[in-house]
């Protein structure tokens, strides 16, 4: 019995972490007014970045560095496309997800000689601790509270939120909307990258992100664009993912039901049947001065 409970707990933490990071990344993006469905792609490239970085750099630190760089780079493209060039956020996200799949597979072939998976990376420890666990626990113990603090207790957070709600007003106060949106997208990108690292530091495989970026978006909505609530929502999905393997769950609940549940829940919440979700007012709306 206690083993089952222990399994559920640890499995929930491990399964939630990438989703939770994606959700937090989404919070920073959307709080600044940028819709980012490329979170899925960020998970994928940062996962690749970690494995390749650690593999060739012979150290988990290099993995961390390249994992974050990879996610950051993808985010940067999104920021340039949506904030500077003001193209539709969804289109940029869709394109970046495609690019993420392509670029990882291509680099895998070039770097590892095989397209669908990397070689095994031996460097998965930092300070003698397993990096996957370290990063996963960091989410709950450090990153989530820190994100809350950053968004609600600092001037940066205040400015970030203001451009997501009313960029014109922020602009009128001398806050650079573009700069703030870049900040939101890039901070969000770094955070989501940690999710890619929490995914599986040993091996990268094509398709390893498995839709977790989208579940992260769902968590973000269920968490009403609040950092801690979004992370908590992600643990719900992690929990569903953990228990679906248990025999007694399998016996009574169809797997499809568990898979669909999070998304149905989002729709129910959005319909106002449970609670209330309100996106930032200028979410996804390009800002052009003097309209």
């Amino acid at each position: 019995m206690w083993q089952t409970i222990w399994f559920i707990i640890r499995s929930t933490i491990i399964s939630s972490a990438p989703i939770g990071y994606a959700a937090l990344g989404g919070v920073f993006n959307e709080r600044s007014g940028v819709v980012n469905i490329a979170l899925e792609g960020i998970l994928l490239v940062s996962s690749f970045g970690y494995v390749a970085g650690a593999f060739f750099g012979h150290s988990a630190w290099w993995g961390l560095f390249w994992g974050i760089m990879a996610g950051l780079l993808l985010s940067l493209i999104h920021a340039v496309a949506t904030v500077t060039f003001k193209i539709n956020h969804i289109v940029s996200g869709v394109a970046l997800n495609t690019i993420a799949i392509g670029v990882t597979r291509m680099l895998s072939l070039v770097m590892f000689g095989q397209e669908t998976q990397s070689k095994t990376n031996s460097y998965t420890q930092i300070f003698g601790m397993d990096i996957q666990w370290l990063v996963a626990l960091m989410l709950f113990l450090v990153i989530a509270p820190l994100s809350y603090w950053l968004l609600f207790k600092t001037s940066l957070g205040l400015r970030l939120r203001s451009v997501g709600e009313n960029p014109e007003a922020a602009d009128s106060l001398g806050i650079s909307v573009e700069k703030m949106r870049y900040t939101g997208v890039l901070i969000g990108g770094v955070i989501a990258s940690l999710g890619g690292i929490a995914l599986y530091p040993t091996i990268w495989q094509s398709g390893i992100s498995g839709g977790r970026g989208f579940i992260g978006l769902a968590s973000m909505i269920l968490g009403n664009w609040m950092p801690i609530r979004s992370v908590l929502a992600s643990t719900m999905f992690g929990f569903a993912d953990a228990i679906r393997l248990l025999d007694f769950v399998k016996a009574y609940i169809p797997d499809e039901f568990l898979t669909a549940l999070p998304y149905v829940l989002v729709l129910v919440v959005l319909a106002g049947l449970i609670g209330k979700a309100r996106p930032p007012r200028a979410d996804g709306v390009p800002y052009v001065r003097g309209e």
Partner: protein, 525 residues
Amino acid sequence: MPGDIILKMENITKRFPGVLANDHINFDLREGEVHALVGENGAGKSTLMKILYGLYHPDEGTIYIKVDGELKPVKFKNPQDAIKHGIGMVHQHFMLVYGLTTIENIILGYEPSAVIDFDTAKKEIQKIMDESGLHVPLDVDVEVLSVGQQQRVEILKVLYRKAKILILDEPTAVLTPQETDELFNIINRLKEQGHSIIFISHKLHEVMAIADRISVMRKGRLVHTMPKSEATKEKIAELMVGHPVLLDVPRPNVTPGETILEVENLTVESDTKGVMAVDNVSFYIRAGEIYGIAGVEGNGQAELIEAIYGLRPPKGGKITIKGEDITGKPTHVIRKKGVSHIPGDRHKFGVFLPFTLADNSILGHHREENFAKYGIFRKFSNIAQWAREIIKKFDVRTPSEKVPMSALSGGNQQKFVVGREISFEHELMIAAHPTRGVDIGAMEFIYRQLFEEKKQKKAILLVSADLDELLLLSDRIGVMFKGKIIKELDNTSRQVTPKEVGYYMLGGDVEIHEDSDIAGGEQSA
């Protein structure tokens, strides 16, 4: 009382595509004075102020600011630069971030430190509130504050930034008379504390009441600056429009016919749930009659029109056209029953800027057999023919009906909209601010068209912020105050005075001071 010049704008020029918004403007401000800036819609007031505030960059010209007792040229890259030089602006449209609390809104962009110490900030703001008399709750979402409170937040924002120069762009447009009085008290208090204030308004009585000096803008140029002692309302009005005011278009004599529009006990909810924007309103309009609605903006005029036009379902009451009940019917049905509408904001409601004039000429009637086979397949040649007729009849200056609407000047756009709405078969014309932002020539043209309508035995519901326009055109005037028509005045022989209307616009129980002419109207035309 006012001191030295602390701000000078020299030869400021700003062009927008197709518009010369500011044309070599010279403007200055003294310490401790209220300098009023007046002018018609689109004269370039806001543009000039946005340049001063660093939001726009002038194409030409220099700004000088007094630094360490000396006027020095400055270049503002962005508002932050302007704020640093002690300039603060309260915008025509509030620049508040809903979703943030009052205190967050106040400190936004000027936070005391990277990690915000809310307690200290609160203390500081409390001090400013006590000094200025501007009190607002600090820990609520600004969204829930009343309009007056929101404006106080705007002023607090400016004071929190330690601005010495305050720009108030049409601060009274959205205020009730009491709130306006309060604002004036505050302005006077700020003045005493050494602040300098630029005050923008269309309302001449306000300007006369609060300003020390007055500058008048017309069509992008600053035409005259004078101390209050030299100013009269008539003089300002003349400067604003460029010639002696009070257009006189002869009003045709028409005996009213049958009742066209009848509104009984109409009640309409505003955007805020539970608040009635229109409260138990009843009136009627007969054929050949112009019924004017007067009132300070925001007293339910917009909602009244929306209810009659089918855009806002009424909460109670009844609306009939020629005896037929149209209450709660959708707009397209109501249009079919013979209602035409010149909307108040043409860009937002009246036209599709990227569409051609031809496409713009049939809006709302595009499904009629004349314009579409079976109501579906569009008849392009008929549509073009129709548009050309409007263009010709209403003297719209355009190369052809094939150009996009956005290519026309505002006045011509308005003429086109007026022409379109008149050209459709109708019994009732709802005209909202039909001359807003158009020049004098076009204005007169539109007046003549409305009188022509009257001769054709149409019923006309006129809503205008321009009192002179109302008095000139209307046979009867209903004055709206807080959602009610508190007084209906007979104006068949133009006997109503602006003062009378003004009295009721403020609720009918406010004392009128001899020198404060509340009936100045928004736009003396």
